[in-house]
Amino acid sequence: MDKMKDENISAMCTCAVGEAGRTGDWRSFRPVIDHSKCIPHQKGKAACFLCWLYCPEGVVKATIPIAIDLTYCKGCGICAEECPAKAITMVREEDHE
C-alpha cells in the first residue's frame, strides 16, 4: 500500500524518459512488420526508412531489420500508412497473440 502513497497535492512527475509512464499502454492497435516486404530488409542496405522518418514518437529504429519500441509506441498507425511496401499492418491488441 505504501506504493500508493503520493504526498503531492497537485499533479506532477519527474523529468525522465517516459515521464508520463510507459505510453505503450495507450495503444489499441499494434504495428506488425512483415520484414520480407520491408525495403531496407529486401535490399540489404539503408533505404526508405519512411516509418522512422514519420513516426511522431521516435520509437522506430532505422536498423536492418527495422525495430519498433512497443514500450512507448502509442499505435497511431502513421508508419503503416506511410510504408510504400505495405510491410506494416495495424492489428488490434486483443487479436494479437
Binding site: I9, S10, C15, V17
Partner: protein, 402 residues
C-alpha cells in the same frame, strides 16, 4: 502604528495587498475594479511596494501570470470583475487544481448581456464550483483585513481565495479604515512557502495529463490519478472551514477586529425571523432588522462571510431557532432559485430547523435596495399565515414584474 484613513474599498484592497507583501501583481483593468489596480501600479512604480506588476492583454493572461508566479514561489495577487472574471474561468479552475494560494479580489458587478457596470454578485457566484474559497465583505475595513487573512488561509490549505465585495457600493465609497501596522502584519503572515519547490536539481513536469486510473510514473511509483487529486482538493476546502475560523480568531486577537470568520450574527439571540445575505446587502439587513423590531417582529441577521466552503455546521447552529428565513440575493440560478436559498435549504434539510424559507432577488445590476423596503417585504411575508417550509419561487424586489 496603525492609523485610520478615509478610503474607498478598492484603496483598502490595494493597501491590504501591499501589507501582505504581494510579490507579483498581474491584472487587467475593468470597471469597477480599475482603481484597485491603479493604486497597486502606483505603489509599485513609486517603490512603496516591492513587487512586479506584469501588464497583460486580458484577464485570462492575468491569472495565468499569477499561476506561474505562485508556482515558483511568489505571493501573487490579481483582481477583476464581471465579464473579466468569466474570461478567466478556465484559469480559475487551473489555479485551484494546481493548489496555488493566489488571492484575487472580485469587485462584484453584474454580468452582461445586457451590459451593466453596476453591482450584483452573479459574477463570483457563477465561479462557485471552481474549487476556490469565496469570502464576502460587508465594508471597507473588512476588505483590507480579509485580503490579509486570505493569504494566511490560502497558504495554509493551498487553495486560492476570492475576496468578494460589492462594486461601487463598497469599491468606490469612502469609509474610515484602520490600516494595520506593517510589522504586525508581517508577524501574522510569514513569507509564502510553495507546496513544491522547483529547482534545477529536482526538475518536475507540472500538471501532466492524467488518466482515469492511477498509473506508474517512469520511476515505477504509482501516483495519484485525477480523481485522487480532486478528492484532495475537496478535502482541502473542508479543512479550510476550520482554517478560516482560526485565522479570523487570531486576527481578532492581534488586531482587535473580528469580522466573524465563517459567518456573523446580529441580534439573533431571541430572533425568530432571520434575514440572511452576503456582502453589503447583509449589512443593510441589520437596519431592516431594527425596523422590523420596532414593528414588534423579533428579527435578526446571519451574514454569510464564507460561501465556499459552505459552513454547514455553523449555519445549522445559527438558524436552529429560526421560524422563518429570508434570503436576500444578488444572484440567481436561472431556472431555479437564488444560490443562498438553495444552499441553505440543502444544509438545513433534516437538521430539525422547520423554518419557512423565503427567497428575494434584489439589486441586480445596481437596482437600489433600501432597508425599509427589505423590512416591508419581509414583514408582508411574516404576517402571511400560509408560510411553510415548501419550495417557493423567489420574489423579485423593486422590479416591475407585470
Amino acid at each position: 502604528m496603525s492609523r485610520v484613513e478615509i478610503m474607498t474599498g478598492n484603496q483598502a484592497a490595494a493597501l491590504g495587498a501591499r501589507l501582505a507583501r504581494v510579490q507579483v501583481v498581474a491584472a487587467y483593468p475593468i470597471t469597477p475594479q480599475t482603481s484597485l489596480t491603479e493604486a497597486l501600479a502606483q505603489f509599485i512604480e513609486s517603490g512603496e511596494m516591492k513587487a512586479e506588476y506584469v501588464r497583460v492583454e486580458g484577464e485570462h493572461s492575468a491569472l495565468s501570470v499569477c499561476i506561474a508566479a505562485s508556482t515558483v514561489g511568489a505571493r501573487a495577487f490579481t483582481a477583476t470583475s464581471a465579464n473579466g472574471l468569466l474570461y478567466m474561468h478556465e484559469q480559475i479552475h487551473w489555479a485551484a487544481g494546481s493548489r496555488l494560494p493566489i488571492v484575487m479580489c472580485c469587485v462584484n458587478r453584474g454580468v452582461g448581456a445586457p451590459w451593466t457596470i453596476l453591482n450584483d454578485q452573479q459574477d463570483s457566484i457563477s465561479q462557485r464550483d471552481t474549487g476556490w474559497i469565496q469570502l464576502y465583505c460587508r465594508d471597507n475595513q473588512e476588505i483590507i483585513d480579509t485580503v490579509i487573512q486570505a493569504f494566511r488561509i490560502a497558504e495554509a490549505v493551498y487553495v486560492p481565495v476570492m475576496v468578494c465585495y460589492d462594486g461601487f457600493v463598497l469599491s468606490h465609497t469612502l469609509m474610515p479604515v484602520e490600516i494595520p501596522d506593517a510589522e504586525r502584519v508581517d508577524a501574522f503572515l510569514p513569507p509564502y512557502r510553495p507546496h513544491t519547490i522547483l529547482s534545477e536539481a529536482d526538475p518536475r513536469t507540472i500538471n501532466p495529463v492524467m488518466f482515469a486510473d492511477p498509473r506508474e510514473n517512469a520511476a515505477g511509483v504509482l501516483g495519484d490519478g485525477y480523481m485522487e487529486m480532486r478528492y484532495k482538493l475537496a478535502g482541502a476546502l473542508t479543512e479550510a472551514l476550520k482554517t478560516i475560523q482560526d485565522v479570523s480568531d487570531e486576527y481578532a486577537r492581534l488586531f482587535g477586529r473580528n469580522h466573524g470568520g465563517l459567518l456573523w450574527e446580529y441580534k439573533t439571540e431571541d430572533a425568530e425571523v432571520i434575514l440572511t445575505g452576503m456582502g453589503s446587502i447583509a449589512n443593510e439587513a441589520t437596519i431592516a432588522a431594527d425596523i422590523l423590531r420596532e414593528k414588534g417582529v423579533p428579527a435578526g441577521v446571519v451574514g454569510i462571510r464564507a460561501y465556499r466552503p459552505f459552513p454547514v455546521e455553523a449555519i445549522t447552529h445559527a438558524f436552529r431557532k429560526a421560524k422563518s428565513i429570508h434570503c436576500l440575493e444578488k444572484a440567481l440560478s436561472y431556472g431555479f432559485a437564488g444560490p443562498i436559498y438553495t444552499d441553505l435549504r440543502a444544509a438545513l434539510y433534516g437538521s430539525g430547523c422547520e423554518a419557512a424559507m423565503h427567497d428575494y432577488i434584489a439589486s441586480l445590476g445596481g437596482r437600489d435596495i433600501q432597508p425599509d423596503t427589505i423590512a416591508q417585504v419581509v414583514f408582508e411575508r411574516v404576517i402571511k399565515p400560509e408560510a411553510d417550509g415548501r419550495f417557493h419561487a423567489p420574489l423579485w424586489i423593486n422590479c416591475r414584474t407585470e
